[in-house]
């Protein structure tokens, strides 16, 4: 399936009832994104070059990639296909928006 389709599906998720119900917790996106920090760095500022940094990456790119991981359409992946399946599309949307808004640390 093309990535644009995943982006469209994830965008629809924005207006789902679940997302509306969660919108009251202003820290939910921050809390969800913090689960990624062990590998991708605090607030997406990764240490080293072996793993992707996420700070400042456009939300659509993160959503498309996570959707593709979920769908199993990324070859030669080691772990992200297993992790992506643990998050709902709504959660991925929140996480992507949070990282997109983070400033990459200058290094």
């Amino acid at each position: 399936m093309p990535l644009s389709r995943f982006v469209a599906v994830a965008t629809l998720a924005l207006v789902s009832p679940w997302a509306a119900a969660q919108a009251t917790d202003v820290n939910l996106a921050r809390n969800l994104a913090a689960t990624c920090a062990n590998c991708h760095g605090t607030n997406g500022n990764v240490q080293g070059k072996d793993v992707k940094g996420l700070a400042g990456v456009p939300a659509a790119n993160i959503i498309a990639l996570m959707s593709a991981y979920k769908a199993g359409s990324i070859p030669n992946t080691t772990i992200m296909h297993q992790i992506a399946k643990g998050y709902t599309d709504d959660q991925i949307k929140l996480i992507a928006a949070y990282f997109a808004a983070q400033k990459p640390a200058s290094r």
């Binding site: 969660q22 917790d25 820290n27 939910l28 921050r30 809390n31 969800l32 913090a34 689960t35 920090a37 062990n38 590998c39 991708h40 760095g41 605090t42 607030n43 990764v46 240490q47 080293g48 072996d50 793993v51 080691t78 772990i79 297993q82 992790i83 992506a84 399946k85 643990g86 998050y87 959660q91």
Partner: protein, 428 residues
């Protein structure tokens, strides 16, 4: 050569100026009266992460962290020290970053928690009052479960090396001092214990060292469990393909007794004589959790409310990591303790401010294990909070293990270590 130093100084100077500006800009959140005092007992994966995220997320919250050790020494990656592939200094990180963030770091021994008076007492007489307390003590050992292991002499001979630090270095010395042709026995307790794949990674690292340097020697894995507890197929393959003839694995080989005088490990039906015997004893929540009356599950672990990590035994005390009664399929790992800490930090800030806590927390785990000097296998899981069961449950279809050991995952494992150490200890 001084270019780095100079540019770094300039960066630091610029950073200080920016900090001044940003502090002024954030006056409404970062200055003014403290929103509360939090004491953190334990500076490991759980405690250090909690201290750091309380500062990051809490605005003006007073955070004091107490640990008996002057520096953090990581259990993950420390098995490489046993193999001779890393030095202990490479798995050691100081607390300077936390201090720079305003965490008061105290080196000391917590002797008592006055839960009624909300004070932590240290061995030197210091008393630390708290509004909320974080207890992240890791595990302590049930040496009494193995006959002959209660004496200091036996514990000095049969090292656990299951808390990274001097014991790691001492076990490495036992391995390097051993004759070629010797036997190393590793005793694994029945689950649950800290770091489910850790003993099997250790067996691989010891076997890798022996294969290279003392090829007539053997590793005998005495597993108290009926089968390999974690990443079973991957470890079986590593044992068979890489360490055939060097590593022998025995299931249902629970250690009952040790004989320090003769260097003998006694199983139910057999005595095993070995040159080096690494005894990983059964474990329970750390001593301070027990003396504070926090242990309320199976006489070993601390029950928690997973929305806040608050103890179900004593209000106002948040317990993290290995000490907790794990949710189903939730490992006792440094990674998981770090994730617990973020749930707790968010909830503590909410509670201090009188806000509702996150009703839908998520935690996830990744454990990498080295099966050779460079090749690694993983296990991963994602745990969503289930409101009906008041429990974290793994998401069906998510998580899993490596397809095969690889050097790519070897690099990812070291990257993971650097990132999680930074996520708990570096100045944000």
């Amino acid at each position: 050569m001084n270019m780095h130093t100079i540019s770094r100084r300039r960066l630091l100077a610029a950073g200080s100026a920016l900090t001044g500006l940003s502090l002024a800009g954030c006056a409404t959140t970062d200055s003014g009266p403290s929103i509360g005092r939090v004491v953190v007992v334990g500076g490991g994966f759980g405690g250090a992460t909690a201290a750091r995220y309380l500062k990051m997320w809490g605005g003006n919250v007073d955070v004091t962290m107490v640990d008996r050790n002057p520096q953090f020494v990581s259990c993950p990656i420390s098995n490489l020290v046993l193999g001779g592939y890393k030095q202990i200094s490479e798995v050691t990180v100081g607390y300077e970053g936390l201090k720079a963030m305003g965490v008061k770091v105290v080196q000391g021994e917590v002797t008592a928690i006055d839960t009624a008076g909300k004070r932590v007492r240290l061995a030197d007489g210091t008393q630390l009052p708290y509004d909320r307390l974080v207890v992240s003590p890791g595990v302590d050992f049930m040496n009494e479960a193995i006959a002959g292991l209660a004496t200091p002499a036996a514990q000095a001979k049969f090292l656990h090396s299951w808390k990274a630090g001097p014991q790691t270095v001492a076990l490495r010395q036992q391995l390097t001092a051993m004759r070629d042709g010797g036997v190393v026995a590793i005793s694994i307790p029945k689950a649950p214990y800290r770091c489910p794949p850790g003993p099997y990674e250790r067996a691989c690292m010891v076997a890798a060292y022996l294969k290279e340097h003392k090829p007539r020697s053997k590793v005998l894995v005495l597993d108290g469990n009926g089968e390999i507890v974690s990443k079973k197929g991957l470890f079986e393959k590593a044992f068979a393909d890489r360490y055939k003839g060097i590593l022998e694995y025995r299931a249902n080989a629970e250690l009952k007794e040790v004989d320090a005088g003769n260097g003998v490990a006694k199983l139910e039906f057999e005595d095993v004589k070995a040159d080096v015997i690494n005894v990983i004893p059964p474990q329970r929540a750390g001593d301070i959790a027990r003396s504070a009356g926090l242990i309320n599950q199976n006489n070993r672990w601390v029950g928690v409310n997973w929305l806040t990590m608050e103890s179900t035994a004593v209000a106002g005390i948040h317990v993290l990591g290995d000490s907790t009664m794990s949710a189903p399929l939730m490992p006792k790992s440094g990674h998981m303790a770090n994730q617990h800490a973020k749930v707790a930090a968010a909830a503590i800030v909410n509670l201090l401010k009188g806000e509702a806590v996150n009703a839908t927390p998520v935690v996830m785990n990744t454990c990498y294990s080295f099966v050779s000097k460079t090749e690694v296998v993983h296990v991963a899981s994602v745990h969503q909070y289930n409101a009906q069961q008041k429990q974290f449950l793994t998401v069906p279809g998510s998580g899993g293990v490596s397809a095969a050991a690889s050097e790519v995952e070897g690099r990812n494992a070291l990257s993971w270590a650097n990132n999680i150490w930074s996520d708990m200890l570096s100045k944000a």
